[in-house]
């Protein structure tokens, strides 16, 4: 009985803590939007320079790894697709499958996971370190709102860069798939491109890009919330950075599943 009570207590406490974190994330999002809109009027704008700096780190610096992974995933989908469709003698239909799965699923997912691993964790580590070094307190006492100064630029940079990276991933993964298809099936790249364009609608593209915009908000907020909750020095920073990656990837995959369920049936 005592064990059961303790278990229920633990579950209850963790649920409350989790709900508290979700509430905190929602507050951060609302405050970031507030500063974006009201900041200039209060002579405390969200600095474009900070957004650009974050954008370079989140987006431009991630181009090589997104490119490598996307071309690999595109080729992998083509390999698996041809292997499976060969059973039915329908290899030529592989382009349809590659195009749809890349644009609707794999590009946003792979890009989201890469950015969560690179930038979401970096955001958590940066804020956590700033917190334990009293840099956040220093911002407060200087009359500089930390949400405006640190969170909003990261959030908006993420919101701009993740869909752009996802679009890059779309193009590169389709190219990767195309290269394999042209080698294996002897189809020209031009014919492949024609089939891709025929297979895809604007709706498919927007479906993927829309998801990536939602992923970007999730990654930024999870990173910021975990960074803000750091306690206990360098070890605490490491713990919350790891937690940030695990949480943001989980959030991305679960949100992706919900999206697939709601919009693809």
């Amino acid at each position: 009985m005592a064990v059961l009570t303790q278990l229920m207590e633990t579950v209850g406490r963790r649920t409350m803590a989790g709900l508290g974190e979700i509430g905190y994330a929602a507050t951060l999002l609302a405050q970031s939007l507030f500063w974006l809109v009201m900041g200039p009027g209060r002579r405390q704008p969200v600095r474009l320079k900070a957004v650009v700096a974050q954008g370079m780190e989140i987006g431009v610096a991630a181009i090589p790894i997104v490119t490598v992974l996307s071309i690999t995933v595109g080729a992998m989908l083509a390999i698996q697709g041809i292997h499976t469709l060969r059973i039915f003698g329908a290899e030529s239909r592989v382009v349809f499958g590659v195009a749809l799965s890349v644009v609707r699923e794999f590009a946003p997912l792979i890009t989201g996971i890469v950015v969560a691993g690179r930038s979401g964790s970096a955001l958590a580590a940066r804020l956590g370190t700033m917190r334990i070094n009293q840099e956040i307190d220093a911002l407060h006492v200087m009359g500089i709102n930390p949400v405006r100064f640190l969170v909003a630029p990261a959030l908006f940079a993420m919101l701009i860069m993740l869909p752009l990276l996802t679009f890059l991933s779309d193009v590169v993964a389709l190219l990767g798939g195309g290269i394999y298809v042209s080698i294996d099936l002897g189809m020209s790249l031009a014919a492949y491109a024609d089939q891709v364009i025929e297979a895809l609608t604007l709706d498919d593209l927007l479906h993927g890009l829309g998801k990536s915009a939602i992923f970007s908000v999730l990654i930024a907020l999870v990173g910021v919330v975990n960074g803000s909750l750091v306690t206990g020095g360098a070890e605490g920073v490491g713990r919350m950075t790891t937690r940030s990656v695990v949480h943001s990837i989980s959030a991305i995959v679960i949100t992706d599943m919900i999206f697939a369920f709601m919009l693809s049936r």
Partner: protein
């Protein structure tokens, strides 16, 4: 400097019946303290005395359970966000570890309050930052990153950032902690200079006795969340209070042992 509690001078900080708790544990048990214009008030106490908590209340980083904290006449827990931001531009804070932003150079750190709160052009801000760097003897180091500075230089840079807006009120958290005696003494001199040359009122939180005696106009001795006494350096030195003498002579207090309480602590939850 007039060392007596100067009733005729303007109060810069007024603390009334400040009570605060962490959970159920009382940290500050009804603090009353007034700090006047142009004085250096040293808040002194051992570990766990509540001095860091008191500082956090003075900076508006914590909300009290009850009581009021008025900074430059404004109740820091009752004013609007916009008023609080304005108030904070009139006060400077040098944190214990410096709290310099590691991603910015020393010069950018010092210029940050100007950049965020003024419309000055870049070159004017750079000149103003350099002026303050001259004051703290850090001229020429503006392009270094905080990680390239020594402990004493970090404290100086933090002071330069704290005074860049020419605040009326300056807070220093453990300004000489972790520094060798020579550097520590130089920081003390700097604090005295800021009061004398710039007319600032300065609140210093420290556990370093020597430093406190060197710079204080008045000392507030905190112990276990209570103010033991507020007096001049001579007054504190002459105090007959046993706890103050223990603090001054670095003696630990012998805890009075209640056998029942001791047994309860050992067996709690087992």
């Amino acid at each position: 400097m007039n060392n007596a509690a100067p009733a005729s001078r303007k109060p810069m900080v007024e603390i009334e019946n400040l009570v605060t708790h962490y959970g159920d544990r009382p940290i500050l048990k009804g603090i009353n303290l007034t700090i006047y214009e142009g004085e250096i008030m040293v808040i002194m106490g051992g570990s766990g005395s509540g001095k860091s908590t008191l500082l956090n209340h003075l900076l508006g980083l914590l909300r009290p359970t009850s009581g009021t904290v008025r900074i430059l006449g404004a109740d820091i827990n009752a004013i609007s966000d916009i008023e609080l931001t304005k108030l904070r531009t009139r006060m400077g804070v040098a944190f214990q570890g410096g709290a310099l932003f590691s991603s910015m150079s020393v010069g950018e750190n010092i210029m940050l309050p100007l950049r965020e709160h003024t419309d000055l052009d870049e070159s004017t801000m750079a000149i103003m930052a350099r002026l303050k760097m001259e004051v703290v003897s850090l001229a020429g180091f503006e392009s270094l990153m905080p990680s390239e500075l020594s402990g004493g230089m970090i404290k100086r840079a933090a002071l330069a950032r704290a005074i860049v807006m020419d605040p009326k009120l300056l807070f220093c958290d453990e300004p000489s902690a972790g520094l060798d005696p020579v550097v520590s003494s130089a920081i003390d001199e700097l604090i005295l200079l800021l009061r004398d040359a710039m007319g600032m009122s300065i609140v210093v939180v420290t556990h370093e006795l020597e430093s406190a005696f060197r710079i204080a106009d008045r000392i507030c001795v905190l112990d276990k969340g209570d103010i033991l006494m507020v007096d001049t350096v001579a007054g504190v030195r002459a105090s007959a209070n046993e706890r103050i003498q223990n603090l001054l002579n670095r003696r630990t207090e012998e805890a009075t042992l209640d056998p029942d309480d001791y047994l309860r602590r050992l067996t709690k939850g087992i």
